[in-house]
Structures are given as structure tokens and as C-alpha cells.
Symmetry: none
Subunit: 225 residues, 2 copies
Amino acid sequence: MALTVLVVDDDFRVARLHADIVRATPGFAEPDSCASVAEAMRLAARGVDLALVDLYLPDGSGLELVRSLDCDVFVLSAAAEAGTVRTALSRGALAYLVKPFGAEALSDRLGAYRRYRALLDGADVVQQDAVDAAIRVLHGQGAGTRPKGHSALTEQAVAQAVAAAGEPVSAAEVAEQVGISRATAQRYLALLADQGRLDVQLRYGTTGRPEHRFSPVRAGAGPLS
Amino acid sequence: MALTVLVVDDDFRVARLHADIVRATPGFAEPDSCASVAEAMRLAARGVDLALVDLYLPDGSGLELVRSLDCDVFVLSAAAEAGTVRTALSRGALAYLVKPFGAEALSDRLGAYRRYRALLDGADVVQQDAVDAAIRVLHGQGAGTRPKGHSALTEQAVAQAVAAAGEPVSAAEVAEQVGISRATAQRYLALLADQGRLDVQLRYGTTGRPEHRFSPVRAGAGPLS
DNA sequence: GATGCCGTGCGCACAATGCGCAGAAGTCGG
DNA sequence: CCGACTTCTGCGCATTGTGCGCACGGCATC
């Protein structure tokens, strides 16, 4: 039985992006989308397995919605205050993704959620082992499969350097920032771009090969220019 | 700052047992106890970090209490129906322990909760990797007992060597300090890092695989004992 | 004394990095 | 339009460190 998902985001482009990811993930039905607390409550009342909730909503608090919904919830939000994260988890969010994130990050967690449901739905009564296993499945290696020659720590450092830069940066600049070689920075930046997590622009105007400049993919609120 | 805990169980013997476990776990204040939903709401309103909630309560549903409480919640219950587990987690339970369980099971999870709080309280704004790390600390390996092939004495010696170093250290340095092999030091350091007790940095700059360097996790506001 | 389990060390496969360079991808001038 | 030149990217290879399977010693149990 395919799992039903409701995408709750007031930016229709973002909602569509997330719906596309759900659609592309095996085991999930065609997702619904809506843009407000009121509409989310109405659609969820029809029965839905999982809601993907942005915390910034026009008619109320996403955090309050997390508490009010009777279905499972993932929070997908640009809000990265530690207190917000804790409150969301405390109110029942089973996952918290900080925007911007790559399609694979969400897809992986959807896959993990499906396995979590399979473990708990497969039995009427569970032992402690099964409870622990289900929770671990849900929260296990959520990071995407990484090719050989790439380390999780270096990938994080590179992604953070780009995010912190506030403007497009070159491989050389990231290399200096992180303390790695230009070639290694280049490899990671290319990987992140391939995963859809970074945008690439070319800087023309000087002699020689144009420089690749990298910036975070914008999936947050506000119009894209 | 010691974390405050409220034990909610209508069996006073069980409540006392759980309170004793909390009392015996470092980093927690003298716990409060109560035996009903009404009393739990009243005591929690004064501010409490964590409630340990039994689902069978005389004046109402423990599951409803989980949703209503504004603090973090662990469910400790003999109720082992899969649907109940899912509902509890969906309503915000950060952990679910099926009665009867050993003192160590609860004590380990309290320790994991403390590290989870330290990770999230230690920063105003967090990155995705910090969110993931905090969740892993709460639900991952760190939540359980020590795996096979690890001794408490060695673990302690390794942790002390890192604490005493005053700067990030490599596995080879810890091995030399403690008098164990590099591979064994590596195993313990990796475990402690997975448990959220140590930070890992990579030392770049030479050809070959970068060296993992370990240091104590920077605690959040207030000293952890 | 035999057996099984636990924790450790050993040794090695391989993961992840930097180096250096070939060549890709531009600009510029004739 | 084309060749020369510049600047940058991508990649093969050597290097260094990690992670893991397995053997072994010690100890507890029968």
C-alpha cells in the first residue's frame, strides 16, 4: 500500500519541488499540496500518513500545526534556531530538514520512513528491540550515498563554507577556507552540484578558462531572481 | 545546569524506582513524581526539561498527556501495541521504553538525552549536520549499552586521555598515551564520537588519508558534571 | 581440563587526500 | 578565422591513515 503524503508550503514552487521528490520515491502515492495551516488541517483530516511541513505559514504557526496534526510529520524549514528544532522534535516531528537541502536528503528520509512504517505496521505487538530498531531505521544514516573518495566530514565542511560565503565562491576560495587542496575542493563542489545541492555559475571576462563559482541552491521563501 | 525530570506513574513503587534511576544518573536534578494527568500538567507548568510518562493513568490518556506537555517526553509503558508506539512517537515522545526494562536501559537513554540537549543548547543556530548528530545521539548507538568488544575501563581511559590533552589528538597519540594499539584507540574514539561525546576534525594538508583528530564536545550553557 | 566468550593486537585492503600535469575552455591579436 | 597564450579543471598516481576480519591470550564456567 502506497503511503500518502501532504506537502505544506506557502511557496508553490517549493511545494512542487518537494512533491516531485515524493513522486519519484518508491512506495508513495501521488502527494497532495497545500499552503496554509487551515488547509493542511482539512486535508489531513481525510487521512494522510505523513506531512512535510514548512514552519513559515501565512495563517499560523507551523510549530502549532506539527502538534495539531494527527499524522506523522517531517519539518522542512529554513528556520535553524536550535530552540525551534527542539520544539519541533518535542511536538512530534520525526525528522527535521534545514533548507536548502538536496533532493536526495529528502528522498533518503522518505525511504527510511517507509521502512520505519513497515517495521511497526508489520506487527500488532512489539518488543523493545523492535521499537529501538524502528527508531534507528528512521534516524539512521540519513546522508545520501557518497561515492568513494569522499568523506562525510569534508563534504559538510565544504557545504558549510559555501553557505557561509554569502556569494558565489570558487574552488580555490573554498579550499583556502576549509584548509584542503583546490583539487579536493573542486571534487566536492562538483559532487554537491551533481546532487543538486549547489548551483554553478561561470565567471567570464578574463583570459583563460572561466572559473566555476558555486552557491547554495535557493529553495527558501521569496522570489527567485 | 542539572536537567529537571518529572516522573508520571500511578504506581508509586514504579515511580520511586524510576526516580531512583534519575537520581543516580549524573547531570539530573532531584526528580519530581506524580500519579495523574492533572498533577503532571500542574507540575510541568512550573518548567521541567523531561517527563517520563506511563500511558496508563487514572484520570486520562497518557497519549493525550504526551501531546499536551510542552517539555520533552519519554514514554515508559507496558503498552506494546505497534499503533500505540507510533502514536506516542508522532505526538512527540523522544523515546519509548517497554516495561519491564532494566535500570541501565533508562540510565543510558537519560545520558543520551543529556548529550542531545548539550548539542542543541550549545548553539543558537544549527546546521543540518548538527540536527542529524543530535538526533543520532538520542536514537543511535549512544542510546544503547556499550557494544561488545568494548570495555568500560578502556573507554574511560581513552576519554580521559582526550580530555587531558587540551588540544585535538589523533588515535595514534591516544594509543601511545593509554598504552593500547592504534586500532583499538581508533575504535573507542569512533564510538565516543558516535555517542556525541567527542568532536571529530580532520587534519588536512598532506597526501594520504586525512588524520582524524578528537576533542571533547564543547558543552552548552553551564557545566556538565 | 575443555569450552566458550570477551577484549585486544596485528596486518592488510582500501578510503581519502595532495601533487603535478595534460588538456579544456576561454580571450586576444594578427 | 586561426594560432598563441592564459587560466582553470579534472584526473592518474603516490601517500598516509582508517576500518575491519581474524587470531590469540586471559578468564569464567561447566
